[in-house]
């Protein structure tokens, strides 16, 4: 019986070794391992995994093609629904999506769908076997703001449909959060991100970096002066949140965005690059999401003793399970049910400790998670040199405030319907800029829906 085979383990760098380098943690499957794992799939008639996938990847189909040894066929099947399989295979929260709904997971371990997606994405890229055909150019131009997952997915679909697509990116490098946010050890830049962006460019998509929409140009100038008939806003959620507690502007308190941007985009961990980064000896990272895990593991790799401070319990950690597991293996200290109330500084204005209170879990809140309640009189100090705030992000208001008539909600997110249409005709939006910080795959799904809506909009004009 196929389902008697245990889940195929994946090879990884030794924890003690990888905690000192920035190379990728997980090596992924080779062909033999992938085919063995693929053989576990039951090929369900009504696949629950596909329903749970934000881009409805044809999971049983590509897995059965891997099982049959038709790797080119499997790669083509994946490419129909996803332009970034190597990325998603690495960063999707599979346990809440495809793998979380796998029938095999009820009694045992689900099929390693993420690892198989990564395998086939990498295989397709490395063999260069994928030839995607574009429809002939239709003469219509679409501008895309930002070059993260939502934008790349939208751009790829529009280019395939024959549109002239140009992406405007504010930073000096394309990729958005894939470049500045997610670290090298989880998502290699030169090996994975750059080639996936190159593939989008091969479809004819142009990328102009160093353009801040809202400052260098505006949405209206793109439409009125540069001849773009529609615009897709995929500018993400880049604005970091702080706690608004005393001492937060002391030297040594940084946002996770700043810390990770210095490390990832600016290569600050490499002495041959100019950008500095500071960890001191002890780093406290506040938060429990993927970004917090990325920050704490980066700090560890830079030589610091690194601790996660999270106000709820371990079961409530919003990070991918694999990241928490990897972080623990690497020696990250987890302080659960702990909430900072003040950052304490020394006489020169540098961080010396984080004052916290203990929490206990009370009644479930509107998110369904049990909300943490402060234990009275439980104040204590955690000594540290750097505090990294990883509390989530919200959309940058720059575009909304420079585009008349573009509606936003009270959280600063652009209001868009399920197809990405905003309050202004011809302007579409999707990804974190609409939902607030979420996942790569949800952003890609939104980008694809918006591409279809833009196609329909321009055709109906």
């Amino acid at each position: 019986m196929a389902n008697k085979i245990p889940r195929t383990p994946v090879r990884e760098q030794e924890p003690a070794v990888r905690a000192t380098n920035f190379e990728e943690v997980c090596y992924g499957y080779n062909e033999q391992e992938a085919r063995l794992e693929a053989s576990r799939c039951l090929n369900c008639g009504k696949p629950r995994c596909v329903e749970a996938c934000p881009v409805s990847l044809q999971i049983p189909r590509f897995i059965s093609l891997i099982n049959a040894g038709d790797l080119a066929g499997a790669a083509a099947a994946v490419a129909e629904d996803s332009s970034l399989p190597s990325v998603c295979g690495r960063v999707c929260p599979q346990e809440n999506q495809c793998e979380g709904s796998c029938i095999l997971g009820i009694k045992g371990e689900p099929v390693a769908i993420g690892k198989l997606e990564r395998f086939i994405g990498d295989w397709g890229r490395n063999t260069g076997s994928l030839k995607v055909k574009c429809k002939p150019a239709n003469g219509h131009k679409v501008a895309i703001v930002g070059s993260g997952p939502a934008s790349l997915a939208c751009a790829a679909d529009l280019a395939k449909a024959g549109y002239g697509v140009k992406i405007f990116e504010a930073l000096h490098k394309a990729g958005g959060v894939l470049e500045y946010g997610i670290p090298e050890f989880r998502l290699p830049k030169a090996g994975v991100v750059a080639p996936e962006i190159e593939n989008v460019k091969k479809l004819g998509v142009e990328i102009e970096t160093d353009v801040v929409v809202g400052r260098t140009v505006t949405i209206d100038s793109l439409m009125n002066e540069e001849g773009y008939e529609a615009v897709f806003i995929g500018s993400g959620a880049g604005l970091p949140r702080f706690m608004n507690i005393p001492g937060e502007n002391l030297n040594g308190v940084v946002s996770a965005n700043e810390f990770l941007t210095r490390a990832n985009l600016m290569h600050a961990y490499d002495d041959s690059y100019d950008t500095p980064i500071y960890t001191g000896d002890r780093v406290a990272v506040v938060g429990g999401g993927n970004v917090a895990m990325d920050a704490v593991r980066t700090a560890k790799r830079l030589g610091a003793e690194a601790t996660i401070i999270y106000r709820r319990g371990e079961a409530e950690l919003p990070a991918r399970r694999e990241e928490v597991h990897h972080a623990k293996e690497e020696g990250i200290d987890f302080r659960m049910l702990t909430n900072p109330v003040e950052v304490i500084g020394d006489d020169k204005g540098w961080v010396k400790a984080l004052r916290c209170v203990r929490m206990e879990l009370g009644e479930p809140d509107e998110s369904g998670r049990r909300s943490p309640v402060e234990v009275p009189g439980s104040e204590f100090d955690i000594e540290c040199d750097v505090v990294i705030m990883a509390l989530g992000t919200s959309p940058n208001p720059l575009i909304a405030t420079t585009t008349d008539g573009l509606e936003t909600n009270r959280r600063g997110c652009i209001v868009a319907d399920e197809n990405g249409a905003t309050s202004r005709p011809g302007i579409f939006a999707g990804g974190d800029t609409v939902t607030g910080a979420a996942t790569v795959i949800l952003a890609m799904g939104a980008g694809r829906k918006a591409a279809a809506a833009i196609d329909a909009y321009i055709k109906s004009k």
């Binding site: 880049g238 937060e248 030297n251 500071y278 208001p397």
Partner: protein, 284 residues
């Protein structure tokens, strides 16, 4: 080269030149290994599609910017960033009735120039005090003279103009009967702090332009956090200009020095490599 370790260059950047307004800045990444360095816009020419920037050597990246030869390329040049100066949005008639004093310290002369020039183009003559440690560190005197109402010069060592600090010169002018409705001070943090302490005595509204640390310059990292009137602001998107009387300068100065030891270590290595090299870019 304008002065020791200070160089001026014109950069071809049509999109930036078209959108730039007084008070805004750019971020420059000189090459693949460079930092993203925020630099003030010193002038812009929409027809030529050029933006003029002034750089002072303070770290490894700015050293390499100043080592560029004419005709060479900068890897990345993004802007205009930050909000334009408030007066850009003011009613011109009201603006013409205002007595405005600009106080520029050292490199601060560069960002003051496009503001004074813009006002002159609208028929508003603003007075300007330019201060520097010494005569050889004074920059852009001729350009400034052409657009300013009265131009006053102060040097710490008395090698040119008034012998003393810009604040002392300002107080002397006020004592002689000059009065101003608004002061715009741009220069080192410590100078802006003391200008604000001085103008507060006279109750004169004072605008300062902060040169906080930045990484992306688009509101993404928060490195440029500054406390103004007890609230935290991001200099890159909500500034760089703020009400100087509300700014917590002591915090701003402490935050600005955060990476000093790491930066100077990296800069030293680059400086040694460049030894003997003379900056020739955009010699004016």
């Amino acid at each position: 080269m304008l002065a020791e370790n200070i160089c001026l260059m014109d950069v071809e950047a049509p999109r930036v030149a078209r959108s730039a307004r007084p008070g805004q800045f750019v971020i420059v990444r000189v090459d693949e290994r460079g930092e993203r360095v925020p630099l003030t816009i010193c002038d812009y020419d929409t027809d030529r599609g050029t933006v003029t920037i002034v750089t002072q050597v303070v770290g490894a990246s700015s050293a390499r910017i100043c080592a560029l030869e004419e005709g060479e390329c900068i890897a990345n040049f993004v802007g205009p960033l930050g909000r334009p100066s408030e007066f850009v949005y003011e009613n011109i008639e009201q603006l013409r009735g205002k007595r405005i004093m600009f106080i520029a310290g050292g490199l601060g002369t560069a960002p003051v120039y496009p503001q004074v020039k813009w006002l002159a183009e609208q028929g508003v003559k603003a007075d300007v005090i330019v201060g520097a440690k010494s005569k050889n560190l004074l920059i852009m005197q001729e350009e400034m003279r052409a657009v300013a109402g009265n131009l006053y010069v102060a040097t710490d060592d008395g090698s040119e103009g008034f012998h003393g600090l810009v604040t002392q010169l300002f107080e002397k002018l006020v004592a002689e009967g000059k009065s101003y409705d608004v002061v715009v001070a741009i220069g080192p943090m410590i100078m802006m702090k003391f200008v604000c302490l001085t103008t507060a005595k006279y109750g004169i509204k004072t605008i300062v332009s902060l040169n906080s640390l930045m990484v992306d310059g688009t509101g993404m990292c928060g490195a440029c956090r500054v406390t103004v009137g007890g609230k935290t602001y991001f200099t890159c998107v909500e500034g760089p200009e703020f009400d100087g009387h509300q700014v917590d300068f002591d915090e701003a100065m402490r935050r600005q020095a955060q990476y000093k030891t790491i930066e100077s270590r990296k800069a030293k290595a680059v400086q040694e490599a460049l030894e003997g090299h003379k900056c020739k870019v955009g010699l004016h």
